[in-house]
């Protein structure tokens, strides 16, 4: 993974000094509330219901064992001994004290981590495929480009006060696992007819109050022009995006109101002015790429026979392999998911002990690295098949081996009313109820591939509009109600879910989810997955069963 050079380190150290000064001036009353708000948000610090919340950047999801141990340390020393993994591969702490945040940032900087631009109306952390570099359907490893984008975005002087937040995601594989169609800019590495690799560029996707699927603005962009093209888009947005209404300020609204053709025309005109001279040189790319060379895999790893033997002997291990591991491009290796969706813990939460243990497991089995995923789990990406049984037992002992990846209980869930100042309704409690209703693992596996996403307000942090089943908490005269949608997807065939009917009372939600699953089981054909059944029969049969 990328290792900081002296300049990278100096930059984040100077950022800590800057923010320490800003915090001191704020506490002395020398910076106003609104001004400090903007400054702290650009260092990841929100003020929430009970306490501030600090969001630390997980650059495109990559974490070293040393960084994991530091996160564990921070959670112990400054928080309540747990952290939370977000849908954009970041790490959140829910209980830090505002005055301690400079010290937290200094601790993080000592392991090449920061919270720069994890919030605010600026260029945010770039995300990518959690299986980048190891998956079997990869066109090219996107991580070097992600690092190039990371550096370009960090402290970008022109684009720190945009109309609204701005998120970029990159996918290097055929299957989009980074929800790139739902980002302000989505980049897909693709191969054109001439066999050259470049980017398909999408713009104007996004979730939140007005979910929109991104549109292609450039079908093929030469890789060397990546930064000039990004700059052209962001400059057009900075100058033309709406600033009169924060709910209409995202680039998706500019694209919608101007039309994609007009937008493409503006961007093209801007890009033509800057493209020459901003190329990513071959040397520069090679220098960054060198940080992402594959680790030294064992050539004979696939000759191990214990893996098959263990699968034959232990049905539980075989099940875990089936659901919680993914194919790896190197024979004899697999990528293993660390499920942060144990039935009795809030989705995406992880304790200090678990963080430390994952660091140890990463050192022991996976070249000292781990990743966070967009669905709020973690991945140890390079596990030798001979080590999987041992790894599974250790994860199981840590409650990190629930074999539910990609199933109904692998829910994306926001912190909801329990923590978040914006939320209108609880989400963690409903997640727990759904977990209890689906506690039969065979039933869960029979349902199969199902993505339930649940947000506690229409800001949609848990991406409910692209959940196969989406659950949105709303407030009606002080009472929590829940709006259900069906048929959303954030993958290749991105789609927004269709509303099922009037919002349901809190005590009806879990029953409604069970009813939806019953309808699916009755209606499905052969191996048909949930999403395909919804597409085939529409929402009416589900609606009739619920209302």
């Amino acid at each position: 993974m990328y290792q900081y050079n002296d300049d990278d380190q100096t930059l984040i150290d100077e950022r800590v000094t800057q923010y320490r000064g800003q915090t001191e001036r704020y506490l002395k009353g020398e910076i106003g509330e609104d001004e400090f708000r903007a400054l702290r948000l650009m260092n990841g610090l929100y003020i929430q219901t009970h306490a501030p919340m600090l969001r630390v950047a997980g650059p495109y999801g990559l974490l070293s064992s040393k960084q994991l141990r530091m996160l564990a340390h921070v959670s112990r020393k400054y928080d309540k001994s747990y952290a939370h993994i977000t849908t954009r591969q970041n790490i959140q702490f829910n209980w830090p004290d505002l005055k301690n945040v400079p010290d937290i940032l200094a601790d993080l900087a000592s392991v090449q981590m920061h919270a720069i631009q994890t919030s605010g109306n600026c260029l945010r952390n770039t995300t990518t495929d959690h299986l980048a570099g190891v998956c079997t359907d990869e066109i090219e490893d996107p991580r070097a480009y992600c690092e190039i984008i990371r550096q370009w975005t960090i402290l970008h002087p022109e684009f720190a006060y945009l109309p609204r937040k701005f998120k970029i995601a990159v996918s290097g594989s055929e299957q989009d696992r980074a929800a790139t169609q739902l980002h302000d800019i989505g980049l897909h590495l693709i191969k054109n007819d001439a066999g050259e690799i470049g980017f398909r560029v999408l713009v104007g996707g996004g979730l939140g109050r007005t979910p929109v699927i991104g549109k292609v603005i450039r079908p093929f962009l030469e890789k060397k022009h990546l930064l000039s093209y990004l700059e052209a888009i962001v400059r057009v947005y900075n100058l033309n995006g709406r600033r009169d209404n924060k709910y209409k300020a995202r680039i998706k609204i500019l694209v919608k109101e101007s039309g994609i053709d007009k937008m493409a025309e503006w961007v093209e005109a801007e890009w033509q002015q800057i493209k020459d001279g901003m190329e990513v040189s071959d040397e520069r790319y090679a220098e960054i790429k060198a940080h992402f060379t594959p680790p030294t895999y064992e050539e004979n790893a696939h000759q191990d026979s214990s893996f098959d033997a263990n699968k034959n002997q232990s049905a539980a291990f075989a099940t875990w392999i089936k659901y919680n591991t993914a194919d790896h491009k190197t024979p004899g290796y697999r990528a293993a998911f660390v499920s942060l969706k144990a039935p009795d813990s809030p989705p995406g939460d992880i304790t200090d002990k678990q963080l430390d243990a994952i660091a140890d497991l990463a050192d022991q089995f996976s070249f000292g690295e781990a990743r966070t995923t967009h669905r709020q789990n973690m991945v140890l990406a390079d596990i030798k098949q001979a080590d999987l049984f041992d790894l599974w037992q250790k994860l199981d002992a840590l409650s990190l081996a629930t074999p539910n990846i990609g199933t109904a209980t692998d829910m994306i869930c926001c912190p909801g009313l329990d923590f978040c100042a914006l939320a209108n309704a609880g989400s963690i409690g409903i997640a727990k109820e759904i977990n209890e209703a689906l506690d039969n693992i065979d039933y869960l596996h029979d349902i199969g591939d199902l993505k339930i996403n649940m947000s506690g307000c229409m800001n949609g942090c848990a991406h409910q509009s692209v959940g196969h089943i989406g659950i949105l908490g709303v407030d009606k005269k002080g009472v929590e109600w829940y709006q259900l949608t069906l048929g959303g997807s954030s993958e290749n065939e991105a789609a927004l879910g269709e509303r099922l009917g009037p919002a349901l009372a809190k005590d009806q939600v879990t029953q409604a989810v069970s009813t939806i699953l019953d309808v699916y089981i009755k209606q499905r054909l052969d191996e048909e997955v949930f999403l395909d059944t919804v597409k085939r029969i529409g929402v009416n049969p589900f609606k009739e069963a619920i209302y």
């Binding site: 100077e14 800003q22 370009w152 402290l155 002087p157 022109e158 720190a160």
Partner: protein, 150 residues
């Protein structure tokens, strides 16, 4: 009135003339729209002429006149309005403007570093007590990732 120019606090005599205000003598700035409609008469003005760029303005509109202009004031009506950053950047790197670019309006001392990075070399704030903070934040970082104006 005092401003910061090239990291020094200096006395400044420029007057910002509103669109409905009479033009007196001395160094003055006018809005881009006034410049566009009155540029021929303004050419006879005895003092120096500057132009104020509002967030909605297109800086390209002044590209051909830059050799007649001694100061460009980029306006931030609120610190959250980031259009001035693009305006300054374009003036320097696209249109090659080498005169004074001054940030005017409501912004934070803590934004001065980025403003400097995009080409602003003068800062004018209503609250001049902020000036020491502005000068100090200009040195917040010694390293940078982007190729920008400076």
């Amino acid at each position: 009135m005092k401003i910061i120019k090239d990291k020094q606090i200096i006395e400044d005599s420029w007057q910002h003339i509103a669109d409905d205000e009479e033009i007196g003598s001395g160094d003055i700035t006018v809005s881009l729209s006034r410049w566009n409609s009155d540029k021929n008469t303004l050419a006879n003005h005895s003092g120096n002429i500057g132009v104020r760029i509002a967030p909605d303005d297109n800086v390209g509109d002044i590209a051909d006149d830059l050799n007649k202009i001694n100061l460009i004031a980029v306006e931030l009506p609120a610190f959250t309005d980031g259009r001035a950053f693009s305006h300054a950047r374009l003036l320097r790197s696209r249109y090659g403007y080498e005169g004074e670019i001054r940030a005017v309006g409501k912004y934070m001392a803590d934004q001065a570093f980025y403003l400097q990075r995009v080409g602003v070399n003068a800062f004018e704030l209503e609250d001049t007590e902020e000036y020491p903070a502005v000068i100090s934040t200009l040195n917040d970082f010694t390293v940078k990732y982007q190729t920008s104006t400076n």
